[in-house]
């Protein structure tokens, strides 16, 4: 069945409503123009709008299907007050041609109600949403359709009437959810919004009178906005591990860039340098009007005394940390690592990768006594022509990469089984073992070979080369 998903103001005046059958609507208004509903595209457009709104406040939460919340706490002074901010917001949004309504209130619930049922552009004074909400219908409380329909059926046509009711009987009659919604709207109960980006107080923005697009200008504003944020971090003895820079273009697109630091930092020059190579990936289009920067993973770091003693800590902060940051941001975090022990006896699982400057893990270090190869192949390579006495003797000859190696000395076997306790118990097999031999050929080449599986009288064992000792 095809239904109306949304109607324009004109259509609503003709008596069409959401949820009406498309055939009924066409019968009523034969000249009706319809388009297919695209919920996915709507959601994407909403996300894009949320990203655009970050230019006003870092805390933006989408309210599917057609709304969004902006937490403007502490940012409206940048525009000179809430009315000015709302005015700027409206004028910019109007340029995009989207129909919209907006309101400012203390709580998300009150703002939601005022936007949908109140006057467009209402600004509720702090603590004054009660009187503004009172004349609105119960549907303004973000209730389930059945709940508000039932409330209206009982003759409660105004939120004000509900506010006057004794709480306990109301809660019993309409459920705890209805009470919660009422309290959330009036600010008696906190409401958590899921913001598009984790809200951070470490946020700075620069707006330009004229849009910029030259690469050198972008580099300069990056340094400026970083300096602005870092001055605050410095003042409060904090440092951050991640920075997200966002260029807001004239056409409403937001282009984010991110960098990470291995140690919490707040040196604007260093941060701007790390962003520098990524700036060329930003297409300024018709120009960039706002740039924002947010710091994540902020930690308290004590200011350090510079160059009083050239100890090892100083070396770490001055040399190694910037080096690791540069390499990590250039090559990607998976390409710069420190090998750390993992408690496993399976050779390929016993080496983990950690961030180079992370504190060492608690795992037991590798044993120095059990020889392990210098080069360990990611996938063992098959060896052929293996001559070995069954069941347990090391090979006396094998062929690898087309070359025959005659074994002179050998050690083994070292039997390594699978980690059966990690998988399904039904999949574990006694035969899932590898018998490793460390062998040396007549030329001196040292190899790490293994025979897969247990010895079986009628099957030829399969041999693999897993590593080279050199």
């Amino acid at each position: 069945m095809r239904q109306l998903f949304g109607v324009s103001a004109e259509a609503a005046r003709l008596g069409l409503y959401v949820g009406q059958k498309a055939t009924d609507a066409l019968a009523l208004v034969p000249e009706l123009v319809t388009a297919e509903a695209e919920p996915d595209a709507d959601a994407q457009a909403l996300t894009a709008l949320v990203d655009w709104c970050v230019r006003f406040s870092p805390a933006v939460a989408a309210d599917a299907p057609d709304g969004l919340f902006l937490d403007v706490t502490g940012v409206s002074h940048l525009w000179g007050g809430e009315p000015e901010m709302l005015c700027d917001f409206r004028s910019r949004l109007a340029k995009s041609g989207l129909p919209f309504r907006c309101a400012i209130a203390d709580t998300p619930g009150a703002a939601w109600a005022l936007v949908r049922f109140g006057e467009d552009g209402t600004i509720a004074p702090p603590g004054g949403q009660g009187p503004l909400l009172a004349p609105l219908p119960p549907a303004a409380l973000r209730l389930e359709t059945e709940t508000w329909a039932q409330i209206e059926r009982l003759g409660l046509r105004r939120v004000g009437q509900i506010m006057d009711l004794p709480r306990a009987p109301f809660g019993r009659r309409f459920g705890q959810a209805a009470l919660t919604r009422l309290d959330q709207a009036l600010g008696r109960e906190k409401e958590a919004l899921s913001f598009r980006r984790p809200p951070t107080p470490w946020f700075a923005r620069l707006a330009f009178a004229e849009p910029i697009s030259a690469p050198e200008d972008m580099a300069r504003v990056t340094a400026d906005v970083a300096a602005k944020l870092c001055a605050r971090l410095e003042a409060e003895s904090h440092g951050a591990r991640r920075f997200e820079l966002c260029f807001h273009r004239l056409d409403g697109k937001a282009l984010p860039l991110g960098i990470g630091l291995s140690l919490p930092g707040r040196d604007p020059v260093r941060i701007a340098k790390l962003f520098a190579p990524k700036l060329e990936t930003v297409d300024p289009g018709f120009g960039i009007e706002v740039v924002t920067i947010a710091a994540h993973a902020v930690e308290a770091t004590s200011g350090r005394q510079v160059r009083l003693d050239a100890g090892s800590d100083a070396a770490l902060e001055d040399g190694l940390a910037p080096l690791v940051d540069r390499l990590t941001n250039r090559l990607g975090p998976e390409r710069v690592w420190r090998s750390v022990p993992v408690e496993s006896h399976v050779p390929e699982l016993s080496v983990g990768r950690a961030r180079p400057l992370a504190p060492p893990p608690q795992a037991e270090p590798w044993s120095r006594e059990t020889p392990r190869p210098t080069r360990l192949f990611r996938r063992p390579e098959p060896v052929e022509g293996v001559i070995a006495l069954t069941p347990d003797d090391p090979p006396t000859q094998f062929r690898w990469r087309g070359q025959v190696h005659r074994v002179r000395r050998a050690e083994g076997p070292e039997r390594i089984g699978e980690e059966w306790w990690k998988g399904e118990i039904g999949d574990a097999r006694v035969g899932h073992v590898r018998d490793y031999y460390r062998v040396e050929d007549v030329e001196g080449g040292r190899f790490w070979l293994f025979r897969a599986g247990l010895y079986e009288a009628d099957a030829t064992p399969k041999w693999w080369l897993h590593g080279l000792f050199g």
Binding site: S312, D318, L320, R375, L376, A410, V442, R446
Partner: protein, 263 residues
């Protein structure tokens, strides 16, 4: 030889050395602790603050297992003084193996570069960093310009570079570039080990290393043994590579040629 002549010779040698080092501070040497080899090296040990080239014969050009093990042993004393960076093209370096040889893996940062040029630039950057004492890179070929850049990076902080020549993914060999800015060039191959009498299995790893080129020194060929490998005993601060005195093979006798390489 008269005292006068000896004095003149010494003065001239010092002059030549000053020209060769172009007036930079002497960053010291890392002696092997055996006069047979230290005598061949300028200043009595492996020069620090320079870069060294390590190659391997045959299949080692692709796998670079023996050169990597030998380099880890050469760089192990340096890794105790500061951080070490190993720049790879193919990430098959096994840290437990390095640990077994006596190289501290907790001082090693591994970087996997995407191509040759990136590997060289990462090496340069690491060499010029405070707190990094040794940088090991696996590179297929290095031309004179890249070698000179590495040398300048080494001089910035007196870090020591080791360049392992490796073609990690096989393929056609690139044309050899003539000349090199390396302080020394070694060709390293595994050599059969000798377990102590009456013991089974393999002995300590042995390497046949030829010093093919050495600025301000002599070339030579030796048989080394990593005496502390796969042993729980802490080493006593001596170099992890020991020169094997007894040579079964005549060919391996230290080359006594007095041929000096033109630097």
């Amino acid at each position: 030889m008269s005292d006068f002549r000896a004095g003149r010779l010494a003065a001239m040698r010092a002059k030549i050395a000053a020209i060769e080092t172009s007036g930079r501070a002497d960053s010291g040497v890392l002696p092997f602790g055996d006069p047979q080899i230290d005598a061949c090296l300028p200043g009595g040990g492996l020069p620090l603050g320079r870069w060294h080239e390590i190659t391997g014969p045959g299949m080692e050009v692709e796998t670079a297992a023996a050169p990597a093990a030998f380099t880890a042993l050469l760089a192990a004393p340096l890794a105790l003084r500061g951080e070490a960076v190993w720049v790879l093209r193919r990430d098959d370096l096994n840290a437990p193996g390095l640990m077994g040889l006596g190289f501290p893996p907790e001082r090693l940062i591994q970087v996997c570069a995407r191509d040759e040029a990136e590997a060289l630039s990462v090496m340069e950057e690491a060499l010029a960093t405070v707190g990094v004492s040794a940088v090991i890179g696996e590179v297929e070929a290095v031309d004179l310009t890249a070698g000179r850049r590495l040398q300048l990076a080494c001089e910035k902080r007196q870090a020591t570079g080791f360049l392992i020549r490796r073609r990690p993914f096989g393929g056609q060999a690139r044309r050899e570039a003539g000349g090199s800015a390396a302080a020394t060039r070694w060709s390293v191959a595994s050599a059969p080990s000798e377990p102590p009498a009456g013991e089974f299995g393999l002995g300590a790893p042995r390497f046949e290393a030829a010093l093919e080129r050495c600025r301000g020194g002599r070339t030579g060929k030796w048989l080394f043994e990593a005496k502390g490998a796969y042993d729980l005993e802490q080493r006593d601060g001596t170099h992890p590579l020991r020169l094997v005195a007894e040579l079964g093979d005549r060919q391996l006798a230290p080359a006594q040629s007095l041929h000096r390489t033109a630097a």
